[in-house]
């Protein structure tokens, strides 16, 4: 096996959680190959991340430069292409940075690309077999690739257990190899999301709605249930795309990360982007008319029902319970 690399994203001097997962995934491809972490950035923050990663990875390559202070895939890709040896395996997380960097990297390295992998089955000879999902997680597929000439692979966050390896890897400064370049894509600034009327990240009970609500007028049905429960209404992405609720109500990797005690997923299919925004192992109840909805794989309790019929009946029953307990 040639070299195995893992590109690690980091923020404010701390490696992303996926750093530990990528090491596990790398070892599943080849348990005997050393794994090299690659980080780009600048200053003391970069050094802190390098030290952190050296406790896990066999080697850490760091690229420090003012041009790398914000991760810009268009600047980083040529850097990797010029310094990674031919036939290498390169792993990274399937996040918005991985989406930017990885597909083009596979072309420039002339290697096969396996995106958003959830499980690595086995490597037989040069043939790597993995599992990924299609159709919003409704089906799984086995996919294989000949990796004798290398591989670019992105893995889904949370799919691989974090490694608990403790080692003392070597930190190698690769900074000198950066050539001054004017990127065709130039970073300007970051803008934080707007603050909404409610803070769903602080709520204990969420009544969360998805596509199954079907119409803007039906949001009232969810609001009535939330009122009866003493909960707050949150939602999945399609509801925000349709502008039926503001993005401060959106749960998911592109929205808010919530930590409730109880999460009622109503007419939500359960895409990994949505589930990625739910932390702290809440009690999840899924109500969906599609028995194949991925949400039923992740919920504690499932109910196969049309939420437009079911929620009003649930609201009525809870209102009765509230009255009788008074």
């Amino acid at each position: 096996m040639a070299h195995i690399f893992a590109y690690i994203v980091h923020e404010a001097g701390k490696a992303d959680d996926t750093a530990l997962e990528l090491y596990t995934a790398a070892k599943k491809i080849d348990a005997s190959a050393p794994v090299i972490a690659i980080i780009t950035g600048q200053g003391e923050e970069l050094n802190t991340v390098a030290s952190e990663l050296a406790c896990v990875y066999d080697e850490v390559w760091k690229y420090a430069d003012g041009q790398l202070s914000h991760p810009n895939a268009e600047t980083i890709r040529p850097l990797l292409v010029s310094s990674i040896p031919a036939d290498s395996v390169v792993l990274m997380a399937h996040n918005t940075f991985g989406m930017d960097l990885a597909p083009g990297l596979s072309i420039k390295l002339d290697e096969p690309f396996l995106p958003d992998v959830t499980e690595i089955k086995n490597l037989e000879g040069h043939i790597l077999k993995v599992i990924r999902q299609e159709l919003g997680g409704q089906v799984g597929t086995h996919v294989e690739a000949d990796i004798s000439g290398g591989l670019v692979i992105t893995t889904r966050a949370g799919s691989f257990a974090p490694t608990d390896t403790n080692t003392t890897g070597k930190i190698i400064d690769k900074s000198q190899k950066i050539e001054t370049q004017i990127s065709k894509r130039r970073f300007i600034k970051m803008i934080a999301p707007e603050v909404g009327d409610v803070d769903i990240t602080k709520e204990n009970v969420l009544v969360s709605i998805g596509r199954g609500i079907e119409d803007e007028d039906n949001i009232e049905i969810a609001q009535e249930l939330a009122d009866a429960m003493g909960a707050v209404v949150s939602c999945s992405r399609p509801i925000v795309d349709a502008k039926w609720l503001g993005n401060s109500r959106q749960v998911g990797t592109s929205g808010k990360t919530v930590k409730p005690k109880v999460y009622l997923a109503c007419g939500i299919s359960g895409s990994f982007q949505h589930m990625g925004g739910i932390k702290g192992s809440p009690f999840i109840v899924a109500i969906n008319k599609n028995p194949n909805a991925p949400i039923f794989q992740m919920a504690d309790v499932g109910i196969k029902a049309d939420i437009l019929d079911f929620l009003p009946k649930l609201t009525e029953a809870i209102t009765e319970t509230n009255k009788s307990s008074r």
Binding site: A102, P115, E134, T141, H142, V205, M229, T253
Partner: protein, 265 residues
């Protein structure tokens, strides 16, 4: 100021509509049961076409939609023509049967080189959730690329100011030189409604078909590097306890559970 004219290519795909379907496997278990599947345009692609139309409405130019697939795929081209796209291209060849993402990008590279496009749009992802075509295409063309784009403004000649939606709803603002490739996120706009009447109006529009010969493609370059072996449906309720019984019984059980878990006030 000189009027800007934009030539925009939008790559679109006909996909099973996951909101309308319960996905099942065929009897041999190696493919989806496609007989009763409802297909539609990939949601992300529809936003991309709307964005292209809005840009051309502002500065002038043309929107061309392109898809690769079987004869039925033409229906999504017609739908987007009805929406306001100016031209459509249909890519069809026996050699396109089992392409991987790289193969599709290889075909599209030839399409781009035959035209004179300032801007190429794809959706962030389609039915296979791979998010790969745009990034691969840009790399093949040596064009700059940005994924998960949720706003586009024209800054000056040949420069766009874009925002990318990154984790946690943060926006990353950048400038990017044209020609470039962008993958478009849902919610960037509100795609206009397309009715039956609109689609009827474009029913007679000629849609040219391009084959490997027309594109000057070497079929060897299309050899897949990755192979999907099968489909399987994850088992229902692997972790969820499915509540059974009448609606009344289910509600009684559920209220009991919610009380126990602190879900009721």
């Amino acid at each position: 100021m000189r009027e800007k004219i934009m030539e925009i290519l939008v790559c679109i795909k006909r996909v099973p509509d996951t909101a309308e379907n319960e996905i099942e496997l065929n009897s041999t278990g190696n493919d989806l049961n496609r007989e009763d599947l409802v297909y539609s345009i990939n949601d992300w692609d529809n936003y991309a076409v709307e964005e292209a139309i809005q840009i051309v409405d502002r500065v002038g130019g043309n929107v061309t939609v392109v898809t690769l697939g079987d004869e039925e795929s033409k229906e999504v081209l017609r739908r987007e023509l009805a929406m306001g796209a100016n031209n459509a291209l249909f890519l069809s060849d026996d050699a396109f049967g089992r392409l991987d993402g790289r193969g599709v990008a290889t075909v599209l590279e030839k399409v781009v080189k035959k035209g004179n496009y300032d801007l190429i749009l794809t959706g962030v992802q389609a039915d296979d959730g791979a998010s790969q075509i745009g990034g691969m295409l840009a790399a093949m063309l040596d064009y700059p690329y940005a994924s998960v784009v949720n706003s586009i403004a024209i800054k000056e000649d040949k420069v766009l100011e874009i925002s990318r939606e990154t984790e946690g709803g943060n926006l990353e603002i950048s400038q990017i030189n044209m020609p470039c490739v962008l993958s478009i996120q849902t919610g960037i706009n509100e795609p206009r409604y397309v009715g039956i009447r609109g689609i009827r109006k474009v029913a007679s529009v000629e849609i040219p078909t391009l084959t490997t010969d027309d594109l000057g493609l070497d079929t060897l370059a299309l050899k897949p590097r990755t192979t999907r072996l099968d489909y399987f449906v994850p088992e229902l309720g692997e972790s969820a306890e499915m509540l059974q019984g009448s609606t009344e019984e289910i509600i009684t059980t559920l209220i009991g559970m919610l009380k126990a878990k602190g879900g009721l006030k």
